[in-house]
Every structure is written in C-alpha cells, then in structure tokens.
C-alpha cells in the first residue's frame, strides 16, 4: 500500500508501506512510519480522518495527517 503522510506546516510524503522497516512486527506501525520521516511520537500526533490513532497500531489507512504538538507551560513548584 502507498501511504500519503501530510506533515502539517511542512512536507507531504509518499511512502511504500512494504519498504518501511519494522521493529520486529509483521506489519509497519504508525511509529515505524514516523521513524521513516525522522519524527518521534513524543513530538507529534498521527491522525486518521481527523482523529488521533495509537502510534503502536499497524497502519491501515492510505492517508495520514501528522501534527507537531503544541504544548508548554510556565514554571510550577515542580519546575
């Protein structure tokens, strides 16, 4: 399957799922796809049809949106 990965605010990638190395799993996961485009699950969310999907699940959609997270904060007692 050919997967289109739209990284919002950046590039759109076309990736052949068959060419994605897996971490020992039979099928590539969303995390494997992220690794392919050098993004970490810690910095992004993967969405399918506008809804976040767990990164450790096998890819089952041909169109994905990747969003870099928007978060932060001010100092608290814990720093």
């Amino acid at each position: 399957m050919r997967v289109t990965v739209d990284v919002k605010g950046e590039d759109t990638h076309e990736i052949d799922l068959e060419s994605v190395p897996t971490d020992g799993d039979a099928e590539p996961t969303y995390q494997d796809l992220l690794c392919e485009i050098e993004l970490s699950p810690h910095e992004v969310s993967v969405l399918v049809d506008g809804r976040p999907v767990p990164e450790d699940q096998p890819v089952d959609s041909a169109e994905l949106t990747v969003l870099r997270l928007i978060k932060g904060g001010s100092p608290s007692a814990g720093g």
Partner: protein, 155 residues
Amino acid sequence: MTGSTAELVVPEAIRDEILERARDGRPEEICGILGGEYDPAPDGRSRVRSQYPAENVAETPRTRYRIAPEEQLELFERLEGRGEEIVGFYHSHPRGPPRPSETDAKRATWPDRSYLIVSLEPRAVSAWRWRAGSECDATASRFERERIVRPDRRR
C-alpha cells in the same frame, strides 16, 4: 535563549485581543494559533494576520497549556482555507516569566515558528523562534528572541 534578527509583525488589534484573553483566562494559561505569512529564514519577517483561540486542554492549566490535536487540525484547516500559513502559536504565563520557561523549551516541537508569550506579572508580550538543533546535537535547540513590530513599521 539568544537573540536573532527575525521579526514578527503583529497588528495592535491582535495583540490586544490576545492580552484580553490572557487577562480573562487568569489564573489559567490561554493558548492559540497565529496565522498569516510565515518566513522561516534566520532574519525572516513573519506577519500575523489572524489569531485563532484554542481551548487549553492541559491537565494542570494554571501552569501548562496543550491544544488537542483534533482542534489543532480544525484550526489549521480554517487558517489554510483563508489562504494563511501557520506563523506560530501563543500562550500566557499568568505569573510570568516574560520569556520561555524550561517547560516551554522541553516541549517545543515547531522549528522556526514563532512562540508568542504573554506574561501578566510582569506584563509583557514577547516573541521567540524555536531553533531546533541537529539530530547529532539536540542540545543546540533553543529559543531565539525576535522583535515584535507593528505592520506600519519599516525595517
């Protein structure tokens, strides 16, 4: 944190809207997205055309902010539908500091975008570009201060 020659053009009306939201939202942090013309160059000049308020869904909103991915996507689509680009983001620090905190630096993920910070104590509005370090040297990642200018001001 270092300085840079980048600039962020912010219309006064938008700055006032964000300040008002920050005051009304106190003691919690408020957040949102800035749309307009984005210039990633080290001496780039990005221009804010619109601000898109978002809900702060952080678990501890008095000291943290987070925009839910679903709302983020919805706002990006609205922004793109108006012919704008993602210029950056804003959030408030109800009790300061008037600069990015350690938490902001740890959680920043948008290279070269502007992070506008509204501090209420002391009252100050500042803008910063997140410059990501290389894969080999992630410790080089840092916020660079950029100048906020009004639309009518020339370089």
